[in-house]
């Protein structure tokens, strides 16, 4: 009795979870409609307060959720029926499960901090009220996106955040570049949305529903569906998904997931649709922090994770996701090496980190991807806000000094650390986190991603190396670069010779901003300890725990099972219409790692019997997996340790190189020498190494990345394609409109031609 009451009381809070997005919406409505009558302070505080309410309610809801039994951790609140088409109704409501709970905490938490920060940052801008209205609207939309209980509602949030991003990029619309950037973001995102829309419609027409609950349930029990393609009749959903399509003969599920992934590349700025994100830095810095680093751009990762069951069914898509992720990670990192605009460095760094998240998802480690999403939200928001503070204060300082120097160009800075100590220190923490310095949040997530990538369940080998190890190498290389460019940034901005314009005296930011920085720095430091990999514990260092992965386990378990089954679905599809196929179970590795592949077995199954057979083998596999895990556990841990050491060394190497290259100024040497005496000696002795580095590695790399990757590939090819398509459509349009001559007889003539054509079709 008491228990029941308690349970009822428990459920009441999560039942109100739909209020979470509504608080910021209330803020939008109040500030939007009555903003003119309210004072500036009221508007700002109200905006912050609504997000705080969301955050507190999110905490309460997640706490309730954590109190529930593991299997029951999915609360769905249907608010009302939305679209009724045929027998199924799409419900308008929210779904609270471990995945969305992580997201709401990140969104409302980081969102709140950035709201507070904006109080200081945007204080003197004439668009103050507009800014907070947009920011609230964004928070609302993002919360809708992550709490959506159906793909349709997710799409609503998806479009709304896109709109907000668009409005906020062009917030300072009097700048042409801002308006252009908004346009670019918009066009590029449309391409992605097109894919999302097609994928979504295809899902609807196969599953007959867009509710996540229904989709997952149908997939889990392989229920019978009546798919949309011609004369298909009723069949098990996996059979329907494995139907070959005319596009390269790929199975339907691959096409659908690739279409959805196209949407994700648009929103999350991956190759080939990443071009908008660096330009998006035209918006105010809090916006870059919140939307274009911490939350919105991760929507693509969230979507892939949310639909992990579907993605897991297609190993082709998974491979594409992993490769695109890794390619983006390294590609953006190389560009980041040479940028001088601070925000651009951070933007390319964001693109690169998002690449890591997709890499994780692609190799089946969804929970690691989400973990990196979270830690990245902390440290990247921190980095952006720090640089917001730098730019903010430089802008004023430059302005007061009567200089027109670009306050975003790090070549105009240097030695700032003594003016703004809090900013410098928090930035240092953020940089170390992103660079993967052990002990900070980025280390745990990035390292785990690299480890999972190394164990990627792909059978493909390139030049004798398994794809996994190549992905690992690419990721590790990108990690070096990350460490390098982040510390280059630090050295050039905060240390070294002061290159500030004369009489410019930057100063520390107002408390609203510095408090936000400190809070985020704290999060970036300790945020990683919820997901410390077990290998560290095995090493005897008993810090933190794996609770993060355990927390997400129920969400990703079905996908892991599917991957562990070795992509059975797709293996069937690749048969040339044959009845029997060999399932290469060596593919199967998944979460259990490489060792599992060694003990895999080959089986012969028919498509119909496939699922049964797989289910049957599942128990065997599990047994085998446990067995092999025990057997090779030692070997495995050793390998992981080795890789981890490599990545630590690499991160430090990157920092070191940056240090050598950008910190030769004696003034700063003096400061650094005390902390890094040994390295300083090395520096002194190896002075010419700098030149060698410069001419052998850095200069060619720089030329390559600056002139080829950035100027040519980025600016010419990608921009060219985007602009070219737009231009082509416009050109056609300009020609087509000429038909409309304005003369009645010509119009009549067109009518007559139309009628003649129709009649001719039947008479002759």
């Amino acid at each position: 009795m008491v228990n029941e009451l308690q349970e009822a009381a428990q459920n009441t809070i999560t039942q109100w979870a739909w209020l979470i997005p509504l608080f910021p919406l209330a803020g939008v409505l109040i500030n939007g409609f009555f903003g003119k009558k309210l004072s500036k302070t009221t508007v700002g505080l109200l905006a912050c307060f609504t997000v705080l309410c969301s955050f507190l309610l999110s905490i309460a809801c997640v706490a309730q959720l954590a109190g529930m039994p593991v299997d029951a951790r999915r609360v769905i609140v249907d608010v009302f029926p939305w679209i009724a088409a045929g027998t199924t109704k799409i419900m308008f409501g929210i779904m609270l499960d471990p995945l969305s709970s992580v997201m709401i905490l990140v969104v409302s938490g980081v969102g709140f901090i950035i709201h507070v920060y904006s109080l200081g940052y945007i204080e003197n801008d004439p668009g103050y009220k507009r800014f907070f209205t947009y920011l609230n609207l964004f928070t609302f939309s993002m919360l809708v996106l992550v709490l959506a209980n159906s793909l349709a509602l997710l799409f609503v949030g998806w479009e709304l955040v896109g709109l907000c991003s668009y409005l906020l990029i062009g917030f300072w619309y009097h700048k042409d570049s801002a308006a252009d950037a908004g346009k670019k973001a918009f066009i590029v995102n449309r391409v992605g949305d097109f894919g999302f829309l097609l994928g979504m419609l295809a899902i609807f027409w196969i599953f007959g529903s867009l509710n996540f609950k229904d989709i997952f349930h149908t997939l889990e029990i392989n229920a019978a569906v009546t798919p949309w393609f011609m004369g298909a009749g009723t069949m098990p959903v996996k059979t329907a998904l494995s139907a070959a399509t005319p596009i390269l003969g790929l199975p339907l599920v691959t096409i659908i997931t690739l279409a959805l992934f196209l949407g994700a590349t648009g929103k999350s700025a991956q190759i080939p649709l990443y071009v908008w994100l660096p330009d998006a830095m035209e918006g105010p810095t809090p916006v870059s922090a919140l939307i274009h680093a911490a939350t919105m751009v991760t929507a693509g990762v969230y979507m892939v994770a949310r639909l992990s069951m579907l993605f897991a069914l297609s190993s082709t898509t998974m491979m594409v996701v992993a490769i695109v992720g890794a390619a983006t990670a390294i590609f953006a990192a190389t560009i980041g090496l040479v940028q001088n605009d601070i925000k651009r460095v951070l933007a390319y760094s964001t693109v690169s980190q998002l690449g890591y998240m997709f890499l994780a998802c692609g190799v089946g480690a969804f929970s690691v991807g989400v973990f990196h999403l979270m830690t990245h939200a902390f440290f990247k928001a921190l980095l952006f806000l720090c640089y917001g503070a730098v730019i903010h204060s430089c802008e004023h300082a430059f302005h007061d000094a009567g200089s027109h120097a670009d306050p975003q160009d790090m070549r105009n800075m240097g030695g700032l650390w003594k003016y703004m100590k809090i900013t410098w220190f928090t930035f240092l923490i953020g940089s170390m986190a992103i660079a993967g310095v052990p002990g900070l949040s980025g280390f745990f997530s990035k390292d785990e991603i690299l480890w999972k990538a190394f164990n990627a369940p792909f059978s493909l080998t390139i030049g004798g190396f398994p794809l996994g190890s190549i992905l690992w190498a690419v990721g590790a290389l990108a990690a070096v670069m990350t460490a390098f460019y982040m510390f280059r940034l630090i050295f050039m901005t905060f240390h070294g010779k002061e290159r500030l314009p004369q009489n410019a005296h930057p100063h520390e930011s107002p408390p609203a901003m510095t408090i936000a920085l400190i809070v985020l720095a704290f999060a970036a430091t300790v945020g990683g300890y919820v997901g410390v990999p077990h290998v560290i514990k095995d090493m005897g260092i008993n810090v933190g725990n794996e609770s993060f992965y355990k927390w997400l386990e129920p969400v990703f378990e079905p996908a892991q099972t599917i991957i562990a089954e070795g992509g059975a679905l797709e293996a069937i599809d690749f048969s040339n219409g044959g009845e029997e196929v060999g399932v290469q179970n060596t593919l199967a590795a998944g979460i259990t790692g490489l060792n599992f592949a060694k003990h895999g077995q080959e089986g012969i199954i028919t498509p119909e019997a496939g699922n049964v057979a797989v289910a049957h083998r599942e128990s065997e596999n599990e047994a085998a997996a446990t067995h092999s895990e025990k057997q090779s556990a030692h070997e495995n841990v050793a390998l992981e340790k080795k890789l981890m050491n490599i990545s630590i060394v690499l991160a430090l190497l990157g920092i070191f190189v940056a240090f050598i290259m950008y910190n030769r100024n004696p003034q700063i040497h003096h400061d650094i020498r005390e902390g890094l005496g040994v390295i300083h000696t090395v520096l002194l002795n190896k002075y010419y190494v700098d030149e060698i580095y410069y001419y052998t590695i850095v200069l060619p790399g720089r030329v390559f990345s600056e002139f080829f990757l950035w100027k040519f590939f980025d600016v010419c090819i990608i921009d060219g394609i985007v602009n070219g398509v737009a231009l082509l459509v416009r050109g056609v349009s300009a020609v087509v409109r000429r038909i409309q001559t304005g003369v009645v007889m010509n119009y009549a003539l067109v009518i007559v031609i139309g009628i003649l054509a129709i009649l001719a079709y039947y008479i002759f």
Partner: protein, 493 residues
């Protein structure tokens, strides 16, 4: 010899909505005398009241299906739903006009009388059961619209729009009538159910003469719907006509034309589906594509909306081609939503107009968000809805249409899939020019300094009704869809 033709008494109870419109129209002429010249608010409100009464009668007739006046008029939920759409269109237009008429300098009460006459024509079209009533309905509508298009008689654009519309309208009517004549000659009747019975009874397929007749009839109707290549009048007309009139024409008149087109196809010509289907198929593709592509390079927003309305007609044809219950639901739902969003967009344009300044170009919308935040926000809602971005109702409308098409595809119509793909591509392209308006309003610096715009009560009310409707239908479409599905069930098919 006794002729068995007697004057029978007829059941007028089924046409109360039309009678109400006529009564208020005639009474309006008298009310007009009470006002002094140049004062039209009273008659405007009076006409709105009249339409509300007609709407009440329409709702009163709900679920009472009947064919009256020797098959001339079919009253069923299909026609009643359309009546409600027309009435809604009228009310929103009238609300915009109350402010717009004096501003644009043609403040004559006949405006509302003609508007009511046009609405009557639409009602006749939606419930027509005979090609004669189809014709009379179309002409009642058209003649009122010819005059309304030229209503700003001092403005050259308005004159020109009226003349172009008149000449081309009469020209297309010629083809329409020729088609009807051929149908009459080969089937012996102009009754819609009579024509259907002819197909049931006839042994062989339709003769070439009948096919030609049907095609000419459809060409005439497609002109009214403004499908490519019969669309050329629309942009010039919408641009030149007074803005509220353009709003009315692009929504109510288009809905009426679709009502009659679909009614003719469903009631009279289902047996000829294999003949009209390929024609409509090609026309749907042409209409969507040309409409959207041409809209991209328009600088005048009214003209852009005209091409957009052509493109939307193309989407609607897809729903016709699906030719199933879902498609019929989609048509009605889409037209309802379209009426709200397009009237809203035109309403904002009407509000922007000054006496000597049209303020219709993209450039004149620059920085509207600062100057007139209410109008800018409303315009943004309408543009987003037209672009089909959720949660606005335009998205659900497109979703319904595509669903209907895919349903037909899964039933074996393999050519529906390319159509849907083309439509989705078009929808994506179209987002560009709708969103451009939003961008210009929110992100561009105004070119010239205009005073901030106080919000007019009537026009504001109209916009708020439209926007609220768009959100309501977009977020909770189930109610409207259930209502409409109910209407379709009684559609003879």
């Amino acid at each position: 010899m006794q002729l068995d033709m007697t004057i029978t008494s007829y059941d007028f109870s089924m046409i109360w909505p039309q009678i109400a419109v006529v009564v208020f129209l005639l009474a309006g002429l008298l009310v007009d005398l009470l006002d002094k010249r140049g004062e039209t608010t009273t008659i405007g409100i009076f006409s709105i009241f009249g339409m509300i009464v007609a709407g009440a009668f329409t709702i009163g007739l709900w679920n009472s299906a009947a064919t009256v006046f020797d098959g001339m008029i079919i009253v069923d939920n299909y026609s009643l739903v359309f009546n409600l759409i027309f009435i809604l269109g009228f009310i929103l237009t009238a609300l915009i006009s109350i402010r717009s008429l004096p501003r644009e300098g043609y403040n004559y009460s006949e405006y509302y009388i003609l508007l009511m006459g046009a609405t009557l024509g639409m009602m006749i079209m939606a419930s027509a059961g005979n090609l004669l009533t189809v014709f009379i309905g179309i002409e009642t509508l058209s003649i009122s619209l010819y005059v309304l298009a030229g209503f700003a008689r001092k403005r050259e654009e308005s004159n020109e729009a009226a003349l172009k519309y008149l000449l081309l309208g009469a020209f297309s009517t010629g083809f329409l009538l020729y088609g009807i004549a051929l149908i009459y000659g080969t089937t012996g009747t102009t009754d819609l159910t009579g024509i259907r019975d002819f197909f049931i009874l006839s042994q062989s397929g339709p003769s070439i003469v009948l096919i030609a007749g049907v095609m000419l009839l459809l060409a005439g109707l497609m002109f009214k719907v403004s499908l490519v290549p019969f669309h050329m009048w629309a942009p010039d007309l919408y641009q030149g006509a007074p803005t509220p009139v353009a709003a009315f024409m692009s929504t109510g008149a288009k809905a009426a034309a679709f009502a009659v087109l679909f009614r003719v196809l469903v009631t009279a010509l289902p047996a000829m589906i294999e003949y009209w289907r390929p024609v409509l198929y090609v026309i749907a593709i042409l209409t969507m594509t040309i409409g959207n592509i041409t809209a991209i390079s328009q600088q005048n927003i009214k003209r852009m909306l005209a091409f957009s309305s052509i493109a939307h007609a193309g989407y609607l044809v897809i729903a016709i081609l699906a030719f199933n219950q879902l498609g019929a639901t989609a048509i009605m739902y889409y037209l309802l939503v379209y009426t709200l969003m397009n009237l809203g967009a035109f309403g904002v344009l009407a509000a922007m107009r000054r006496k000597n300044q049209a303020n219709e170009t993209l450039a004149s919308f620059a920085g509207l968000a600062n100057r007139a935040p209410f109008y800018a926000a409303m315009m943004a809602v309408f543009m987003l809805s037209l672009a089909g971005i959720p949660p606005m109702a335009g998205f659900i409308g497109k979703f319904m249409i595509f669903s209907a098409a895919i349903k037909e595809y899964s039933a074996g119509q393999s050519d529906m899939l390319p159509l849907v793909i083309i439509a989705v591509t078009n929808a994506v392209v179209s987002v560009f020019f709708y969103l451009r308006v939003v961008v210009v309003m929110y992100m561009n610096e105004p070119e010239q300094d205009l005073d901030s715009e106080p919000v007019n009560l009537a026009a504001g009310l109209s916009l708020i009704i439209s926007a609220a409707g768009i959100f309501f239908l977009g977020i909770v479409p189930s109610y409207a869809l259930d209502f409409i599905q109910n209407a379709i069930l009684n559609l003879p098919k």
